[in-house]
Amino acid sequence: MQWLVRDNLVGEGVSGERVTIQGRVLDGDGAPVADAVVEIWQANAHGKYAHPEDTQNKPLEPGFTGYGRVGTNREGGFRFTTIKPGPVPGPDGKEQAPHLLVSLLMRGLLRRLVTRIYFSNEQRNARDYILNLVEPERRGTLIAQAVDGHPGLLEWNVHLQGEHETVFFDLGL
């Protein structure tokens, strides 16, 4: 799966706020998962997906496909650079808060896990339809936090089990 690794989603002429998201994937013992693949899917800064099902009247940007793939290293770490997406429509007819879709693949998981990354300091999170389906005390597992002293750097970790187990979504898979 190495040939399709994309840890920088931002091509030439792409608009939007650049962010680097880094984190670790940890198992039930808190041990690093060194063989995970993290896949990203997201809209561009206008909130438009580069996909025929997205019929919104918003601009596409040729330098941005919205797809990323990174593997974890020995410490379970991963890192990718992208832009903060714009809001896309939600199931209640209101906009969703900016978010990235994440699929996780690894040894030991017969089915992929699906989750989302939201952004901290984002007022729209409070009204987000999907976030509101999650118990308030677990919502934090979906929110990437700014790293002090490093503008544009965000941290988001995946806990497969345990007290801080990340929220995973059921897409009826």
Binding site: L4, E53, D54, L110, V114, L160, Q161, E165, G172
Partner: protein
């Protein structure tokens, strides 16, 4: 308000559970809290699409990626990618990876005491044509031991990764070979409870696509989502 058309849920037992204790690695990795069912939004019914230009021309033929030919028996693996309504899924990326003929992966973490083959890296990709067809030329992979339990061996298999039209259709699975004696003992193959669903992971011998004096052939069709969906196996 726009209603998003989603995908049908699979029948119970036709997809593996996250936790399958006989597959040892799932014990510390499978989430323990229930997953939260969410409605389909634009985010899940869209997904990455790839231009034909990214496909490397030699990538479909795993026997011609190096200076010499790999050791092993050449085989053709081909089939169709269909959606839940049996319509072909055209122009979708198909990736495969596998062990070499001796049962060794070209990967640093594979320390199995079997020879590496300098002429075989075991990775390929291609894109389905307008009728959802794909075709690979490769060599028959070997079985290999793994540490799951005492004297554990994986049956011969090829890993498949497909995107389909949406994030909701992403599928990573494994293809097996007909008549493999190890299948009844493999915890990964047997994690899908429904026998019919499980057997969809076994390719069929494909007489029509054999090439005389050159290669035998296997057919493996993949169905993304729905009643006849291919079970996942990462």
């Amino acid at each position: 308000m726009t209603q998003i058309a989603g995908y049908r849920a699979p029948f119970p037992g036709t997809q593996p559970p996250h936790l399958h204790p006989t597959y040892f690695s799932s014990i510390k990795r499978a989430p323990t809290k229930p997953q939260i069912r969410i409605p389909y939004t634009l985010s899940e019914v869209t997904g990455p699409t790839f231009k034909a230009e990214i496909v490397q021309p030699k990538a479909y033929d795993l026997t011609r990626q190096h200076r010499g030919e790999p050791i092993g028996e050449r085989i053709i693996v081909s089939g169709r990618v269909l959606d839940e309504n049996s319509r072909p899924v055209p122009n979708t990326l198909v990736e495969i990876w596998q062990a070499n003929a001796a049962g060794r992966y070209h990967h640093e973490v594979d320390q199995h005491n079997a020879p590496l083959d300098p002429n075989f890296s075991g990775c390929g990709h291609t894109m389905t044509d307008s009728e959802g067809r794909y075709r690979f030329v490769t060599i028959r992979p070997g079985e290999y031991p793994w540490r799951n339990h005492y004297n554990a061996w994986r049956p011969k298999h090829i890993h498949f990764s497909l995107f389909g039209p949406a994030v909701a259709t992403r599928l990573v699975t494994q293809m097996y070979f007909p008549g493999d004696s190890l299948l009844p003992f493999d915890p990964i193959f047997n994690c899908t409870a429904d026998e019919k669903a499980r057997n969809r992971l076994i390719s069929v011998f494909d007489w029509e696509n054999t090439i005389p004096d050159e290669a035998l052939a296997y057919r493996f069709d993949l169905i993304l989502r729905g009643r006849e969906a291919t079970p996942m196996e990462e």
